[in-house]
Subunit: 227 residues, 4 copies
């Protein structure tokens, strides 16, 4: 699998994350989506947890808009919040409804511990740190889904829809935009040689932790379901 | 001037703010807009400061989206950010351009101390407090402009455009929505008798301080111009 | 076991937490401390994770000082930070050293996922909410340790020191102070009937989640050790 | 007046602040302290505003403790909070009492707009930015008072006490510690050549704005008194 080109920072972070990045992007859940062997109950379990996740993920992007230093950064972050709240979350509501989970049931989902851990980690990184901490902690989800989606593009079978959304041009274009936002934000603050600064280690650590929390999120989806 | 009906909380806060509310909504700047005697230089000075203000105001609404407790609150706050960043701020750029202030000059505006005081007060209230602190600190600007706009509706003369925007149905409708958002948010957390709680005093204090900072903002616009 | 009297809010929260409170305060780890059957390796594993925990816990109390609304609240919160950073953490360093874990090893401890989840949950509750959210999320740790300590007081055996610290008068007195701080903070904002307000549900939810995260923390200590 | 040596970052920031630094450290208020011509009413007005200022200043240092990345940074920040809350603020209470302003009157002081602007600017810089933003925004007050105190050391006359406190060894030592904290924090994140990075411009801007807000604070003290 060739890594997609979502910019310089992502390439560096992804490379340094090493095996953990493979554990995330080649997780058994992903392979189950690919070959269609993922049990539907696991998929629905995932969708429900992902809905709760998206609420907090949108909050984190809103925090990024509050912490932006330029109007362009603010516009990019606020457009992402808008897309999450007014497009992606309603889509989840609809998909779940088509599988017999109505909105009330969806919103009553009990947040799994690993889900809580992930979203609070990202939000706290943003509150305690700055815009760059948020970008590094948000990147594995946004861009990892892009990379996974690309590798599943054209897939048919029971999860063809999921593959089409994340492998599709619209989402891929969003990934390139986010990658460019990240590159611009890092260089604007730390200059072109930022990878040599101690700050780069902190950012890598944000990316690495969020990557491991993504692995944990797939694990939830495959774990025996108690919701 | 009959006060417009933007909901229960606003009515209570406005009433308790007393004379300071009149100092804001009947400020000499407002009267100058009404009778057309406001010097154009003052108006342009105001527009430039207001542009800087809107950047931080949008950040505060983004923070509100991050601090929302329901999806509806998040959707309302994020829609406001989106409108500010993608509609209202470009409108300011355009209006200023039509008066010979290009985008570069506009973005190079030196923030007046009273402008800085106001926006940082609102943001800090939001960071240190919760969603309600933000609502109380944001209300005087959003809803005060609605009230002023309503009282200037149909005005012609040099500032007819300004009067048409804030007195117009679109902005009035936004004010009713924000008023409803505030009422819902307060009751959802503090119940129907919230005005009897000590918390009501803190919220009133947020509203009062922001009202005084609005007075200070009009003062800036009328002060000798040094930008 | 009679519940200690650390104030009204704690009593209410503890009561409503129900069985989960027992799962935390009567966890197998606690019983192992009591009867001395806790393997030393588990105890050391716990001490190391607890050191990492205390760092973030102190940060959360510092955030409480930043979000305090009165000088007394600020003084109480800052005294707690001071005690954690200048007394409790050095004590951990010393205890670990006496078991052959030097400071470098201690500070190199890899944060367990359940540890990260807990501390980031508390910090994020504080950043996104207000002082009361922090108090509700901090209470299970501070006051639960008091309750456990009290039930283990006078214990001898290998964990006599731990039991003496948390069951001792100094820590019990701190618990009563924190309980009073919480009671004062809640009443000061929400009035004497705060338990009838919707806000009480959110605070209970903060307390409940932190209680479950405490259960998870004991679980870490008993889990096979990979650090 | 030779600038005191409180470290590299301070020297750079102070140098780049240029004339504004002189406007602050050689303000008419300072000269009035020096030659004893400062009216006592102005001094008392200053003390009262400064008390309100210290509350928020302590909150900002508490936020720094919450945002620290090392235990040493946390210890330094929390020691400062502790000193402010448990030493410096009680000293203000005592000094004011000796001039006939009792604690109730002191705590009822109406915050001047320029006071509010300053503290909210610092806190918001800290919340929206990171530890370094806080350090740059806090430096002009802490270290500027050190520099002023040093230049007034040994002064007698009506303000001998003030001069003795800020020119005294204890405060000078604190300034060297804070200077070292700042230098360590900047290098730890940005490396030895941090002054060449774009980030240095943002930090300078934080320092410059806080310096101007200090000028505004002295202006308050000399303005006609309406409290």
């Amino acid at each position: 699998m060739t890594a997609p080109d979502y910019g310089t920072a992502f390439a560096a972070w992804r490379g340094a994350a090493g095996q953990d990045w493979q554990r995330y992007t080649r997780h058994a859940f992903v392979e189950g989506l690919r070959d269609g062997t993922l049990p539907q109950a696991s998929y629905l379990h995932y969708l429900r947890q992902d809905y709760v996740f998206l609420i907090h993920f949108a909050r984190a992007w809103a925090l990024a808009a509050a912490k932006a230093e330029t109007i362009d950064e603010m516009a990019a972050a606020s457009a992402t919040v808008h897309a999450l709240v007014h497009v992606e979350m309603p889509l989840h509501v609809q998909t779940c409804a088509s599988h017999g989970i109505d909105r009330t049931a969806l919103e009553a989902t009990t947040e799994a511990p690993g889900n809580l851990a992930y979203t609070r980690y990202v939000l706290e990184a943003g509150y305690s740190g700055d815009f760059l901490d948020l970008m590094a902690a948000l990147a594995p989800c946004v861009l990892g889904y892009g990379e996974i989606g690309l590798s599943l593009r054209g897939n048919d079978g029971p999860y063809a829809d999921w593959c089409a959304v994340y492998g599709g041009e619209e989402y891929q274009s969003l990934c390139r935009d986010v990658g460019a936002l990240v590159d611009g934000a890092v260089e604007r603050r730390l200059g072109p040689d930022w990878q040599t600064l101690p700050r780069a280690t902190t950012l890598q650590s944000r990316f690495d932790t969020a990557t491991l929390l993504e692995v944990g999120f797939w694990d939830i989806a495959l774990s025996p379901i108690s919701t």
